[in-house]
């Protein structure tokens, strides 16, 4: 469960200070599927980065379970990311030189598993997204939808509490978009994940059980 209290985030852009988030209060219960929409530059990605322990807020506090993310050291934040949070990116962000199987294995690197166990879990994760037979392929040899499935397998192989998706269907056609959303919904239901999706796509947002809107750094419910 996420608990955000009076969260603010400002950036320096040259001489200018940009306020990306302002006094955001938000609670996301465990197992909720949340969609965040809003105009470009409104603060969607900033909020996702704060939820993902990639950034610390300038003010306020962010709690994930029993951890207060806003006060953790870098090393502890890395551990939270490696064990509790899965990321899915708009551009898939797969390592181009590694196969699909190896890309999924990268997420297990911080767990220091034995090679056999690591490979088995990665294979099972690929099978769970329907790519059991594509483990030996490089990203360049896969379609956009398949690459995003690999990215989802990578995000879920460590069995996180939270899945954060930044425009997960932004680079996909409608048919593939629906496939990916069905996959995410299925995983959400089956695993009881908390899923937060940032999207411009209203069709995607409508599939969420809760919709948030963010504009000029202020968060509102829809």
């Amino acid at each position: 469960m996420y608990t955000l209290t009076k969260v603010g985030k400002t950036y320096r852009q040259g001489q200018r200070t940009v306020t990306a988030l302002k006094d955001v209060d938000l609670v996301i219960p465990q197992g909720q599927l949340v969609a965040i929409q809003g105009p470009t530059g409104g603060g969607k990605s900033t909020l996702l980065q704060l939820l993902g322990a990639l950034e610390r807020p300038t003010s306020g506090s962010i709690g994930l379970g029993s951890s207060v993310l806003s006060s953790l050291a870098d090393r502890r934040l890395a551990k939270v990311r490696s064990h509790q949070i899965g990321f899915v990116f708009q551009g898939f962000n797969l390592i181009p030189t590694l196969t699909a199987q190896e890309n999924v294995e990268t997420a297990l690197e911080p767990f220091r598993l034995k090679t056999d166990a690591r490979r088995r879990r990665a294979r099972e994760s690929l099978e769970s997204v329907g790519l059991g037979d594509r483990g030996g392929h490089l990203p360049a040899e896969l379609s956009g939808g398949q690459q995003q499935r690999v990215a989802i397998a990578r995000a879920l192989v460590k069995e996180p509490e939270v899945l954060l998706a930044d425009e997960p269907t932004g680079n996909l056609d409608e048919e593939t978009r629906d496939d990916i959303m069905e996959l995410l919904e299925g995983l959400w239901r089956d695993r009881g994940l908390t899923v937060v999706i940032v999207t411009h796509d209203t069709a995607v947002a409508r599939r969420a059980e809760r919709r948030l809107h963010i504009k000029q750094g202020r968060l509102t419910e829809r």
Binding site: S45, Q49, G52, L54, E55, D74, R75, A78, K79, R81, S82, H83, I85, G86, F87, F89, Q90, G91, N93, I95, P96, T97, L98, E102, E105, T106, A107, E109, P110, R118, R154, A155, K158
Partner: protein, 477 residues
């Protein structure tokens, strides 16, 4: 995972890997070649020095040369009216004497005991470096009522002479080097090997016996059992020696017992050089300092000082390697390291999204730094292996070409050791340069490869560690 990722990255970035590896290889090959040639030059110097100063000589102690001192100032040969043999109106004159060699300064023989008593000295032996000068020629016989006294000034350059312009007279000066020695284990005879006859022995003290240099004996057509005239005295040739190093002459033309040399040169209890062996290589500097303190009026020279006296192309090669070579290798190494560092940093910058993603999925900074450093290290090691191979090929080419270097004692050689006759012999020494790659050079090459890789990895890793995951992801959004 670490190895798989590393190999995939290196294989995928072949161009960068190749450029870094080639840069490192060239630098390391240069270091290998320079070290090998440097070792070859040192070995050649050692051979030349051994031929001059003897095997195992760590230091020499000589009298300090002052201008005007030394044995070969203008020499005066005086003949009385009854000197020489007259036949058919011509008087044949000949006079021979032993003088200290040019640049040599005699010291009291007690210096040997003083040296031997210094801590760290294993053994010490004294020698007397002399020059035998023979003035000979013919002139018209003098009339009965007049005394003929000729004060002749011998030319400084050995072997010259000629008509004196006095109506049919002709005189010449012949010189050869003579070394009075009291040990065959330490000093110039230690660097020789017996070709015929026997070496000088302790029982030869006081006896008119001589051991000749093979080259001199050959030029004078002398053999064991013949006699050679030194300072007007006849010496039996008991042995012929040659340099133990194949291509160098020995230090002197003739070797005679030290006491005999001292008596004939009228230098009782005098020596010109004390050859010193230290009990270990590490004590040479301490012994040198102690000797300088004990003998403030003498000149103490170590092998390094002696090496500086070797002239010719060998000296030029040594100087080139010590100066230009060292700077060149440093410059090329620095360029290779810089190239590796810049390429690595550039590679990290290109992989911002990749590292940002890895951080986002939980990789620690340390894990990412290790990945970057590992890749750089392997690139460095590849360069090191290639560099060692190139270096070996270049050393092989040098050895096949077998360049010859000439070596001799520099004009200032008299300051530190036996000169005069040794200048004559050493000047003609030719040594073949033989470069060799030692295990230390190989270790140095591997060490440099590792250092280059780690340096590049450290800079690249530092750059990667500074990336904030959110910024890394934002930079590609």
């Amino acid at each position: 995972m670490f190895g798989t990722y590393l190999l995939r990255e290196l294989a995928n970035r072949r161009k960068q890997t190749t450029i870094i590896a080639i840069g490192m290889a060239l630098a390391i090959a240069l270091v290998v070649v320079l070290n090998a040639v440097s070792a070859g030059v040192r070995e050649a110097q050692s051979r030349v020095l051994e031929s001059i100063y003897g095997v195992g000589t760590d230091l020499t102690v000589t009298g300090t040369f002052e201008p005007g001192e030394g044995g070969t100032g203008p020499q005066t040969f005086t003949f009385g009216r009854d000197d020489g043999e007259t036949a058919e109106g011509t008087t044949e004159l000949s006079q021979s004497r032993l003088v200290t060699a040019r640049g040599s300064v005699a010291m009291d023989a007690s210096t040997i005991e003083t040296v031997a008593s210094v801590d760290g000295v294993a053994s010490a032996a004294g020698t007397l470096s002399l020059e035998n000068m023979t003035f000979s020629g013919a002139m018209p016989a003098a009339s009965d009522d007049g005394e003929v006294t000729q004060d002749m000034v011998a030319p400084a350059v050995p072997g010259t002479g000629g008509a004196d312009g006095a109506g049919g007279s002709e005189f010449g000066v012949d010189t050869f080097s003579v070394e009075g020695v009291d040990s065959v284990e330490v000093g110039p005879l230690s660097a020789t090997e017996l070709v015929d006859g026997r070496m000088l022995e302790d029982s030869d003290a006081g006896a008119p016996v001589a051991v000749l240099d093979q080259t001199y004996a050959s030029s004078e057509d002398l053999a064991v059992g013949d006699t050679v005239t030194i300072a007007g005295e006849e010496f039996e040739v008991v042995g012929i020696v040659a340099s133990a190093t194949a291509d160098a002459a020995t230090a002197s033309d003739a070797y005679i017992p030290l006491d005999v040399a001292q008596e004939l040169a009228d230098l009782d209890d005098q020596v010109t050089t004390v050859y010193v062996q230290a009990d270990s290589a590490s004590s040479v500097d301490a012994v040198s300092t102690a000797l300088e303190s004990e003998l403030p009026d003498a000149t103490v020279s170590t092998q390094a000082d002696l090496a500086s006296n070797v002239s010719g192309s060998l000296s030029t090669a040594s100087t080139l390697i010590a100066n230009l070579g060292a700077w060149l290798s440093l410059l090329v190494l620095a360029a290779a390291f810089l190239l590796a560092i810049l390429f690595t940093i550039s590679g990290v910058t290109r992989r911002t999204r990749e590292f940002g993603t890895l951080k986002a999925i939980g990789w620690s900074n340390g894990r990412i730094v290790r990945q970057v450093a590992g890749e750089s290290l392997v690139q460095g090691l590849l360069g090191g292996a290639l560099g060692i191979a190139l270096g070996f090929a270049a050393v092989l080419a040098i050895n096949l070409a077998a360049p010859s270097l000439t070596a001799g004692e520099s004009p200032l050689g008299g300051l530190v050791g036996p000169s005069g006759p040794m200048t004559e012999t050493a000047a003609e020494t030719t040594v073949t340069l033989s470069a060799s790659v030692t295990p230390i050079v190989l270790l140095l090459a591997v060490g440099l490869a590792v250092l280059g890789g780690l340096l590049a990895g450290a800079f690249g890793g530092w750059r990667a560690a500074r990336l904030r995951p959110a910024e890394a992801l934002r930079s590609v959004a």
